[in-house]
């Protein structure tokens, strides 16, 4: 076991983790952040995406010890059931959520993109989403939801 200290959703946390423990399992089991989903487990589907230093990473292929001293954000950072982030509201409005399993990863990738690029083209949105699979919606609604939410990030200055 090793102690890992890092910033998780804006708060500095410390936890003991196993040497062989994946960030995915640490976030779900030690911090009860169940938005982090496991699907393919081999870094192909993007359901386990979290932001490390604001960039998307696959938590299923990241050792928990690796985030020592870094900043980690999960979907819980964006909003909760009583106070959804405008990006989450846009996903609902556009019908960009069906089974919902890919949604946390999609939202984090979109959030990361819009923080860096407040007026992305459709190609840039699609490129940003290219590491996340959705087998329900066919992506069109997701792309539109992200486009529609972009003004919120612009007005945040």
């Amino acid at each position: 076991m090793k102690n890992v200290t890092f910033t998780l959703n804006g708060k500095v946390v410390t936890s003991a983790v196993e040497d062989h423990e994946l960030l995915l399992d640490a976030l779900r089991e030690r911090f009860a952040l169940k938005s982090v989903k496991e699907a393919c487990s081999i870094g192909e589907c993007g359901a386990c995406t979290v932001l490390i230093d604001d960039e998307p990473h696959y938590s299923c292929l990241t050792l928990a010890t690796k985030v020592e001293g870094h900043d980690v954000k999960t979907l819980e950072y964006l909003g909760d059931i009583d106070r959804l982030h405008p990006l989450q509201e846009s996903f609902i409005r556009h019908g960009a959520v069906q089974c919902g399993y890919c949604t946390p990863g999609m939202l984090l990738v979109a959030y990361s993109l819009l923080c860096k690029n407040r007026n992305p083209t459709e190609d840039q949105i699609r490129e940003a989403l290219s590491g996340n699979l959705c087998r329900c919606t066919g992506y069109i609604q997701i792309v539109e939801a992200i486009k529609d939410a972009a003004p919120v990030f612009q007005s945040e200055g």
């Binding site: 196993e18 040497d19 062989h20 423990e21 994946l22 399992d25 487990s41 081999i42 870094g43 192909e44 993007g46 995406t49 490390i52 960039e55 998307p56 990473h57 696959y58 292929l61 990241t62 050792l63 010890t65 690796k66 020592e68 990738v109 490129e127 940003a128 290219s130 590491g131 996340n132």
Partner: protein, 279 residues
């Protein structure tokens, strides 16, 4: 879930090579995008050393006529670095096509080389730039050309006690340069074919032609006979055709006939014709 293993996050190169020298069955891990997938499939490693926090292995810097790329520099960094975009465009383009955004944020250029897949995207452009690798161990360091470093698919000259620490490439100024890959999809696909090129020309004459073909032969390679034929000659259709023929012959010599050659060779022929500007 992964099988149990012990892991150490090295902070310095010295710490990593000392652990390699003193431990038994020690494996280095950088981005983990290949190694952890193999371990989930049952490959066993007992002691992992994570080298991604080693500051000395990070970043891209100019060094005279060369560029130094730390082995643990991510594909994202390589694909967006201004120096690489300016003087090693083929490498930037190849790195920007690897896996997915997440994979590029995690995977490293050194990992791509040490893994030595025949379809590793970074190999062909690095061959074009005559990459020299620095390999370190507790005993010291050695420098080896990339062309010698990879000995067979997924095999390199690295011993269990060594670490790839640095990639040095030639800056190519005044060349037209690029990378084209053919894959099943635009995103998230392993390339079936990749060609890197850097060509210096003046008044329709080839001055220095550098080509490298990846994902075709067991190791990506430079078609030297085709390059030699072109260098110093005026660009003409017959010459380009002759060079393309030499390149395809070299592929056949290396690999023998392969079922995939029915489509691969015509694609290489057409790409080379376009790249060399002969039609």
């Amino acid at each position: 879930m992964l099988p149990r293993f012990s892991s150490l996050k090295a902070k310095t190169k010295k710490e990593a090579v000392t652990a390699l020298a003193e431990g038994e069955e020690v494996t280095l891990v950088a981005g983990g995008t290949d190694l952890l997938v193999r371990m989930k499939r049952g490959e066993s490693h007992h002691h992992l050393i994570d080298i991604t926090s080693i500051e000395e292995l990070q970043g891209v810097v100019a060094e005279g006529s060369r560029i130094r790329i730390g082995a643990a520099t991510t594909h994202s960094r390589v694909s967006t670095d201004p120096l690489i975009r300016e003087s090693a465009r083929s490498l930037g383009e190849a790195a920007s096509g690897i896996g997915s955004p997440q994979i590029r944020n995690m995977g490293t250029i050194g990992g791509n080389l040490a893994n030595a897949s025949p379809c590793a995207e970074s190999i062909a452009p690095l061959l074009v730039h005559d990459a020299l690798l620095t390999i370190e161990s507790a005993e010291g360091e050695r420098v080896e050309a990339l062309a010698q470093f990879i000995t067979a698919p997924y095999r390199t000259t690295l011993t269990g006690r060594e670490m790839l620490s640095l990639i040095r490439i030639e800056r190519l100024e005044g060349y037209r340069e690029g990378y084209r890959r053919v894959a099943k999809r635009a995103a998230w696909a392993v390339s079936r074919l990749g060609i890197a090129w850097a060509i210096k020309e003046a008044e329709d004459r080839f001055l220095d032609v550098r080509l490298a073909v990846g994902s075709c032969t067991p190791r990506p390679f430079r078609p030297r006979s085709a390059e030699a034929l072109l260098n110093g000659r005026r660009r003409e259709k017959w010459l380009v055709e002759e060079a393309v023929k030499l390149c395809l012959e070299e592929i056949r010599q290396i690999s023998g006939e392969r079922p995939s050659f029915i489509y691969k060779l015509p694609v290489i022929r057409d790409l080379l014709r376009t790249i060399l500007g002969g039609g």
